[in-house]
Structure formats: structure tokens, C-alpha cells
């Protein structure tokens, strides 16, 4: 009798132990599940991956849409590597003019449709049909593209993108070798979407995805919801890893101050917006373990219009560069931990960057202090003393403060300056149009992909200057023929000798800095503030925080 009871007791205890072990392991199981709650001030426009050009959604596309190639989903500089994604591999032939991709088998879209070579070909045609912003700047090298740019509706890219269903390959033929082409295939504008997608901007109707998540709903006034793609099976952890949360939502409308408070209260997990200046100290002290600071390949600068007075004078432009106290601007931005003074175009650590700063008390490689006396002298010599200057800036907190400060500095050295703000949504296009006669404004530039041409050629090349157009990204209107020739040489050199090309870019960077079509201000650092429950924070230098690689439970 006693043995029986003892046996039952032992069995019960054993059963309890097994149960406890089982359930606790279920609880600490691989962190999958839960809903990640993101916040933003406003929606980011169209959800169509081939049209949208905002960081807000590019950050979400990395977990949802795939291209033939993709940037590696890893932290730090590894994120600049391009790895095969929907293609299992590729070969480059014909001196760099022919790219042949082998398409992976067995991949399905989030609506169950299988991925075929037809979808790939149709997607490249669609880039032109929907008038993607980069159709003319990134993809004009594909054979047939020039015809497509003229008549987008009937785009066939004949001879340019050829699909072979039997071999399951896609061949892309270029008019000239382009070593940057792999990057261009990895950005969301080259996402592969179903062949039967509408031939116009999809707007608020999400297109099916191939990646770990799909877009379940999108209301630009309220929220966006992403759910796990039921047809997704991880085929490459580097290109498209499976994600942790079951659902990701992004809600719109809260003011930035309230967003920070919501995250502190645990009511949300992250915000797209930069924390306001008066919360930074609070975040850095009370929530230091939830605050992540990362250096960016970007720069804040003030382009100066070289075609109208007073900045059509080289001496006046150099004077501005000498007079700006970049430390003060660093303070305005949030302190020395968040920004580093800079004088040149290419950010530190960028391919082609050689530290250089002529506009300081002791010229050399680093900025140390402003030289106001020299600046005043230069203004005197330029003959522009007393000229009226208007500093334009968007009306958000930090950019407005930078604009106010710049106006103050200009007044100090002898100009009659005032700062004006414009609604953030039109400031960018307003500043580009020469009709608005903008003399100096506050700008930032973040890389599209890690190539020096993305900074120098795009911002200061003659090809980027279109007078009278709202899209003239060369806001300084800078067109220096000798420097432009060098830029074309460097682009060509990239096809054969990358290191030599970078050395040439470094020289061009210094030359442009000497001509001062802009006043570089500083290199910004990026702050991500997450809630307590967010774990495994991974920051990719290309697309910033890898949203789905963090867990919430």
C-alpha cells in the first residue's frame, strides 16, 4: 500500500516537473510573437515600393519586399554588402554589360501566387510605367530605358530585361558597364511584384510581398498594419531573415513630445521621429539602456546659390564657411555626442573620404574653431558687405534653429540677414526651384547607397542642375566644368579600378570643398528610442533599425 502511494506521489511530482519544464521552455521559446508598435508623426505617402522614396517606408520594406539582390540584413557596415535575394546567384558577362540572374524556385507571394520570371520582367517594366522617381537616374542604363522614359505606358524594355522561363533565368542588358548597378537592384524601387499589379501608383492598396511580412491594411490618417506572410519560408538569412513579432503596426498623428512620453509609458515601442531637444537629457539619463545612438553616412549642409548675389562671389562663400561656429550648431542639434563638425562633402568613413578642413583657425584635417576675423575680411574683399540675405529653412524645431543661427552669423560678418521658415512639406521642392531665388538654405543629404558619386555627382554635378524646375537637387546651381569632367572620369574609373576611383573622388571632394558651393555643417548621429520590452536591437547603416529583427516578448 505504502509503495503504491509513494509511486503515485513520485509519478505526480515527475509529471509536475515535466509540465513545468515544458511550459517554461514554451515561454522562453525563441521570442517569436507579439505586436511591435511603431509611431510616426504622419504617414509616408504611397505604399507602392517602386514609387515611395521615404526612409519611413524603406525601413519597413526591408522586411517585406525583395529584389533580385538585397542589402545584407546585418548590423553596422556589413549592411553595405549586397547579397543575392530572389536570385540564387548571378554572373556578369560581356565586359559588365550583361547580368544573368538565376531565379530561386518555390517562392510564393503573400497571396499564394508563385514567383516566376514573368513577374521579374514585368516589375522592371513597371518601374517606368509608374514613373518611379529613380527611373531616370538609376535605371536609364538598361537597354530600352530611354524609350520607356519617353512613353512609359507602353514600356517593354525590349532587349533590356529578358526572362527565360525554361532555364528560370533573367538577363539584364545595359548600354554601358555600371559597377553601381548591384546597389540599384537592391533598393526598394527594384522590388519584384506580381506581373498583374496595376500599371499605376498603387497608393493605399498594398501590393503582395515575397518577404517575411505583408501589408494587411493601410490608412494614411490612422495606421499601417503588417502581418506575417503565411507563404514565407526563409531562403537566405542574410537577404531576408524571418522576423520575431507576429504583427507590426505603425500609428500616425501624435505630436513628437507625446510619442516620446508614450514610449516611456510603454504604450508604444519606437518612433521614427528624432526626439525633441528638451527630452534628450531625460533619455540619456533615465532611459539610457533604451536609447541607441548610431553614426550615419549623411551630412547637414547649407547650399549657397552660386548664380545670384551675394554668394556668386567665391570669397563671400568662403567667409560663411570660416565664420560658422560648428560647435554651436552641434549644441543646437543636441550636443557633441549627437553630431560631429565637418567641412567637406563625403562623411567620415565613407569610401573616398580623406579628412580635410580648410575653414578653421588651424586648417588641416579637423575643424577646431571659427575664424571670424578672416571671415569679416573676406566679406570686405568680396564687395558684398551689407547685402541682404534670406536664410530659408523648413519649420521643424532643429532646422529652424539652425536657420536662425546661420542668419545670426551672417549678420555678424557684415551681411543683412534674416531667417524665414517654410512648411516642411514644400521646403524641399521650394529650395530647388531657381525661380524662388533662394540664396542659402538648410539641407541634409542621406545616402541612397554607399558610393561617393551619390554625394558628389548627384549634389554638385552639372547634370543635376535644372533651372526653373522643382527637381534640381544641385541647389547651389554649381556647374564647374573641370570638376565635372573629373567626376565623369571617376565614374568611368569605377568600372575597372575601384581604389583608384575612390582616390580620385577624394580629390574631387577637396576641390568641391575649396570652391565652397555650400557650407558643410556637421555629420549627424541617429537616435533610436525604444520601449523597455524591445530586445535585440540591430542597426543597419543602410536601412537603419532592422524593425522585425527585434523582439517584444
Amino acid at each position: 500500500m505504502r509503495d503504491r502511494k509513494a509511486l503515485v506521489a513520485v509519478l505526480l511530482v515527475a509529471a509536475a516537473a515535466v509540465y513545468a519544464a515544458g511550459s517554461s521552455s514554451a515561454r522562453t521559446n525563441d521570442h517569436r510573437g507579439g505586436t511591435l508598435k511603431l509611431l510616426a508623426k504622419a504617414a509616408g505617402g504611397t505604399l507602392d515600393p517602386q514609387v515611395n522614396y521615404t526612409l519611413e517606408y524603406w525601413q519597413l520594406y526591408q522586411a517585406s519586399y525583395d529584389g533580385l539582390l538585397a542589402f545584407k540584413k546585418a548590423g553596422g557596415n556589413a549592411a553595405f554588402d549586397v547579397v543575392p535575394d530572389l536570385a540564387s546567384g548571378y554572373k556578369i558577362r560581356n565586359g559588365g554589360k550583361t547580368w544573368v540572374f538565376n531565379l530561386r524556385k518555390g517562392i510564393k507571394f503573400s497571396n499564394g501566387q508563385p514567383l516566376t520570371t514573368k513577374d521579374v520582367v514585368a516589375s522592371f517594366q513597371r518601374i517606368f510605367k509608374v514613373k518611379s522617381p529613380t527611373s531616370g537616374s538609376f535605371y536609364q542604363g538598361i537597354i530600352g530605358a530611354s524609350k520607356c522614359l519617353k512613353t512609359p505606358a507602353t514600356c517593354t524594355l525590349a532587349g533590356g530585361v529578358i526572362g527565360n522561363a525554361k532555364n528560370n533565368t533573367v538577363t539584364i542588358n545595359l548600354t554601358a558597364p555600371d559597377p553601381e548597378f548591384k546597389y540599384k537592384l537592391a533598393v526598394p524601387h527594384a522590388s519584384i511584384v506580381p506581373a498583374n499589379s496595376p500599371a499605376s501608383d498603387a497608393g493605399t492598396k498594398p501590393l503582395p510581398t515575397t518577404g517575411a511580412y505583408y501589408f494587411a491594411s493601410y490608412d494614411p490618417n490612422k495606421a499601417l498594419v503588417m502581418k506575417r506572410n503565411p507563404y514565407f519560408k526563409e531562403w537566405s538569412h542574410a537577404a531576408m531573415p524571418a522576423g520575431y513579432p507576429d504583427q507590426i503596426t505603425q500609428s500616425y498623428g501624435l505630436t513628437v513630445e507625446s510619442q516620446i512620453t508614450a514610449i516611456e509609458n510603454g504604450q508604444a515601442d519606437w518612433t521614427l521621429e528624432a526626439p525633441p531637444a528638451d527630452r534628450l537629457n531625460e533619455l540619456g539619463t533615465k532611459h539610457a539602456d533604451q536609447t541607441h545612438v548610431e553614426t550615419l553616412t549623411a551630412f547637414w549642409y547649407a547650399p549657397m546659390n552660386v548664380n545670384i548675389p551675394p554668394f556668386n562671389s567665391l570669397k563671400a562663400r568662403q567667409a560663411v564657411n570660416y565664420a560658422i561656429d560648428r560647435n554651436a550648431l552641434v549644441k543646437i542639434f543636441g550636443g557633441p555626442k549627437l553630431a560631429v563638425p565637418s567641412c567637406q562633402v563625403l562623411p567620415p568613413g565613407f569610401p573616398g573620404n580623406k579628412p580635410y578642413c580648410p575653414y578653421t583657425k588651424n586648417p588641416g584635417t579637423k575643424w577646431s574653431a571659427p575664424d571670424v576675423a578672416k571671415a569679416k575680411k573676406l566679406v570686405q574683399e568680396s564687395g558684398q558687405k551689407g547685402a541682404k540675405v534670406v536664410v530659408i529653412s523648413p519649420d521643424d524645431e532643429v532646422q529652424k534653429a539652425v536657420g536662425v543661427y546661420l542668419a545670426s552669423v551672417l549678420n555678424q560678418i557684415g551681411f543683412k540677414a534674416s531667417s524665414k521658415t517654410i512648411s516642411g512639406n514644400i521646403a524641399f521642392t521650394y529650395a530647388q526651384n531657381t525661380k524662388n531665388k533662394v540664396q542659402i538654405n538648410v539641407q541634409q543629404w542621406y545616402q541612397d547607397y554607399p558610393a561617393a558619386s551619390d554625394f558628389l555627382n548627384v549634389l554638385f554635378g552639372c547634370d543635376s542642375f535644372h533651372p526653373g524646375s522643382d527637381s534640381s537637387i544641385n541647389m547651389a546651381g554649381f556647374c564647374n566644368k573641370p570638376i565635372d569632367k573629373q567626376m565623369h572620369r571617376a565614374l568611368k574609373l569605377e568600372q575597372t579600378n575601384f581604389p583608384a576611383a575612390n582616390a580620385l573622388w577624394a580629390k574631387i571632394d577637396h576641390q568641391v570643398t575649396d570652391q565652397a558651393p555650400m557650407a558643410t555643417l556637421f555629420t549627424p548621429r541617429h537616435i533610436d528610442f525604444v520601449s523597455k520590452r524591445v530586445g535585440n536591437f540591430v542597426f543597419s547603416k543602410q536601412f537603419y533599425w532592422l524593425v522585425d529583427q527585434s523582439w517584444v516578448q
Partner: protein, 347 residues
Amino acid sequence: MSGAIVGEVPAEAGDLAAVAVGPWQLARRRLLRNRVALGMAGLLVVIVVLCLCAPLYADHVAHTDPFRSNVSGTTIVNGKPVPVMKSSTQGLGLGVTPIGPTWDIHHYFLGADEQGRDVAARLLYGGRNSLLIGTSAALITCFLALLVGGVAGFFGGIVDGVLSRILDVVWAFPVYLLAISLSTVLIARGLSFGPIHLTSGSLLLPIAIIGLVYIPYVARPIRGEVLSIRRREFVEAAIGLGASNWRLLWSDVLPNVITTAIVLFPLMLAIDMLTEAALSFLSIGVQEPNASWGTIILDGQDVLYTRPAVALAPGIAIALTVLALNVLGDGIRDALDPRAKLRRTDS
């Protein structure tokens, strides 16, 4: 009410003599006897004088230029030099905090804003602009509303119909859109209306916008009053006697309606100052380098969590000024009420 009875002649002997004096002089005397209203008038005078002395304060007392960024500057607190904008050194070392109120009128009395500028000095300069804008806009509103409301109420018919519809359009007008558009357009070039030249930073812009937008608000009550006055016997009688319309408007209707306008004036001043704050808060009111209490509140939003003084000070300044204006307005109303002649003076 102490039960004044109909038709009772005022008991105070002094008033008997006053009956022979005109209504305006009577009103003045009544106002002068209202101590609370006088106190508020005094407060207003103090505020206005302080604001007008802004340049004196900035140059000779605080020794600061409140329109120049001073991000890297220093000031003296308790005899020791301290940076105006202090970088955080704790934790991750993020953020830069401006100096808080020092309560020392020579050095950053109310602290610094996000550009390192002296808030107290800016508050005084800002007051000048806020008062100027509020007063000018209220004058424009009351004057034009008297005109429009008077004409509409008096003539009735088609004139009233057209004017009322125009007032509807003005009241429903997308003011913020106009303000955004105007401020953007004027950055590149100015606008000219005869002798008036508008540039982007001109104060005439918010004055005109605010003044014009509130005309319907004042014109409607005035129109209503004119409508009811029009039907009164003395007006009918005057018309019967053959008086011309304009003469009637001027000599009979206007004096009765003007008290309404006068009473509404301080109310409109208050509303206009608040509207100016709202427009400046949206960056479409007063522009840099000018400051107003509204722009300082906007500046204060940026440092609300660490230096609430920057936002509180102009808010309190507006509240005090508006309070004083309204109490004074009440006093004026009490003094001007024509029926006061028949009332006991314990009111």
C-alpha cells in the same frame, strides 16, 4: 441689486448737477470712481511702459542682444561664469539645456531659450509687437465692423443681403491657408497696395489678416443692434420728419451703437492677441527676426520639458494683459451705459 424703483431720481446731490452735464463727461466721472477698473488701467500702463522700455532694458540693464544667437556664450551666476547652454554630462551625455531663470535682472532673469537668448529681454520686445498687433487689428475690426454692420442693419434689403453673404464668406474663409500662402509668396517678393508695401517679415501682414478675419464677429451683433434701433420710435419719428439716411446713421444710430463697439474693443484686443499667438505658433504670424509673445511660446515648446519658464512667461503675460483689458472694458461699459443716469451709484 438694491431694488431701485422705476423713475427714482438719484439720491446724491452731486448727480443732480451731473444731469446737466453731457453723457461722455458723466461716463468719465463714473469710470474714475471705479477703483478696480482704474487699478487695471494702471496695470496696463505699467505693462505698456515696460514693453516700450525694452531697448533700455536690453542695452543698459541686461547688456544683451536678444536677437543674436548666443549658443556658445557665457554669463555670470553668483559671481561665477557659466555657459548659457550646458551640454549634458550624465548617462549617455545627450542633449543641451539652456540656463534656467536666475532671478537676477542683469543676467538672464528668466533664463535662456534654445538659441541662448535672454528670455526676459525678448519678452519685453515681444510685448511691443503683440500689443501693437492686437491694438491695430482690433481697431481695424471695430471700425470696419461698425461701418459694415451699421450699413447692413440700417438699410436692410439687398444691401443687407449682399453684405451678410460677404461676411459669411469672410467668416468661413480659410485663414490659415491664406496666411501660409502669403508668408511663402512674400519670401521671394513683396506685395504692394499703393503706398503700403508688404514684405515677408512685415507686421502689417498679421495685423491685416487678424483684423479682417474678425469683422463678421463684431459686425453681426452691431448689425443686430442697429436692426432693433432702427425700429424704435425716435428713428421712425426722425424719418417721418424727413431726415436723410446718412444723417440718421451718423447722429442717431451711431451714438447708440458705438458703445457696443467700445465695449467689444477690449474683448477683440484680447481675442486678437490670442489669435496672433496661434498664428505665430503655426509659424505663419510674426516672423523672425521680430519676436512676439506668440513666437516666444513657440520657442518655449522646444524646451517645455526642461525649461517651462520660456513658455509660461509669455502665456502669463498674455493672461495678465487680457485680464486687465477685460476688467477695464467692464468698467467702461458700466460707465457708458446710458441708463446709468437713472441708477443709484452703488453699482
